[in-house]
């Protein structure tokens, strides 16, 4: 049972295409397994459809349609997507065609696999795995961070986040996370800016 969901605000931003790509992938990883948020997304997209219908038509160049007909006759097949990634991790459908980087150890029992880095937006997307019982020291963020739990569980103070749960943290949040005792916890994380308050080595690896 999923307990924690993305905010309506972010689902709306996802629906209108204004969420940055890394954040959109983290949120998409949640949507992959959450019927409730998919309904919210569908509602938001239906708003987009209704608003598209309500647009005053702009003037279009006549030749656009004839060009289009010519193109229909000569359709080229799209470039095939890169082969699906096979990892021993149940990846959400929206991540299966992403290039997943090599595993790097941050600390004993804690690893990351970089997925995407957007220098323009200062956002990064990565998988993070932590062994049972591991603690991530208290830290803050200089921007938004979105975390989708893929397997296992962690605790943030008194709140439990299990597989399927989504955690949004703003730059005002400082937290220390503790992985559940029974299994490794793997999350897909999109974050903006740099973490604050982590030991220097961890900071450099995450940056």
């Amino acid at each position: 049972m999923i307990q924690h969901h993305p905010s309506d605000e972010n689902i709306l931003a996802y629906a209108n295409g204004s969420l940055s790509r890394t954040l959109a992938l983290a949120l998409g990883a949640h949507l992959d397994g959450c019927a409730q948020c998919c309904r919210t997304l569908n509602t938001a997209e239906a708003v987009g459809g209704v608003m598209l219908e309500a647009q005053a038509p702009a003037e279009l160049d006549e030749k656009i349609f004839s060009e289009l007909l010519t193109e229909l006759d000569a359709l080229v097949a799209a470039t095939p997507p890169p082969p699906p990634v096979t990892l021993a991790i149940p990846l959400p459908a929206n991540l299966r065609h992403q290039r997943i980087g090599a595993r790097r150890w941050l600390a004993p029992g804690i690893w990351i696999r970089p997925v995407l880095k957007d220098a323009n937006e200062g956002t990064r997307l990565y998988l993070l795995g932590a062994a049972p019982g591991k603690a991530l020291p208290r830290h803050g963020h200089s921007g938004v961070e979105m975390t989708q739990v893929l397997t296992g569980e962690f605790h943030d103070g008194g709140t439990r986040y299990g597989a399927g749960d989504f955690l949004e943290a703003g730059d005002d949040v400082e937290h220390s996370l503790m992985v559940g005792a029974n299994e490794e916890c793997i999350c897909i994380i999109a974050s903006q800016g740099v973490p604050r308050g982590l030991p220097g080595l961890l900071m450099r690896l995450l940056a």
């Binding site: 309506d8 998409g28 997209e45 987009g48 459809g49 279009l60 929206n94």
Partner: protein, 212 residues
Amino acid sequence: MDALAHDGNLPGFAPRRAVPLVVWRNPRPPSGAMTAQDDKSLLVVAVAQHRDRESFRLLFQHFAPRIKSYLLRLGMPGQLADELAQETLLMVWRKADRFDPGRAAAATWIFTIARNLRIDHLRRAKLPGDYFVEEEFCPSAGDDYLSAERDGQVSQALKTLSPDQAAVIRLSFFEEKPHPLIAAQLGIPLGTVKSRLRLAMNRLRAALEDKT
């Protein structure tokens, strides 16, 4: 929507719900607006099944100028907006067989295509050579509603929003303004923008859930 659910002339598109249940869920006759939406869905189906160019032309005539208008409103230069409107319709032709009239109205489906092409364009401009795969990963959605019906309901529910809520939805959704900018433009605190958005979304959701 009822036309779609009842029309036996659409092989391959069996209604998702048994017909009596649909009637029970939607006892009112469909409004004119919903029938119009419905017609667009039938055009996409005709393109998918018969590669019908006349249906495609009608879809083009209706949607291409509106897509262009949408893109212009988001600040895209005219020529580029022409190109992306053209590309959107090309995608409609190519992907028509993936359109599921039980899941979304044609306008909603076409809106998402235009939106994705626009995102893709902005990305390519920033990260050349970056590969973007458009994935369908909300497979669990839509089963609870017959969706062209839902779009009609969303359209109705939007009219019931307070002017404040409607303004926030419109600005944040369609003109894609970041929330702090909306706050500045409306002269209200950021927290108020967020709470109005939440209230508006609750309102829309409630309007839809009443029907199930």
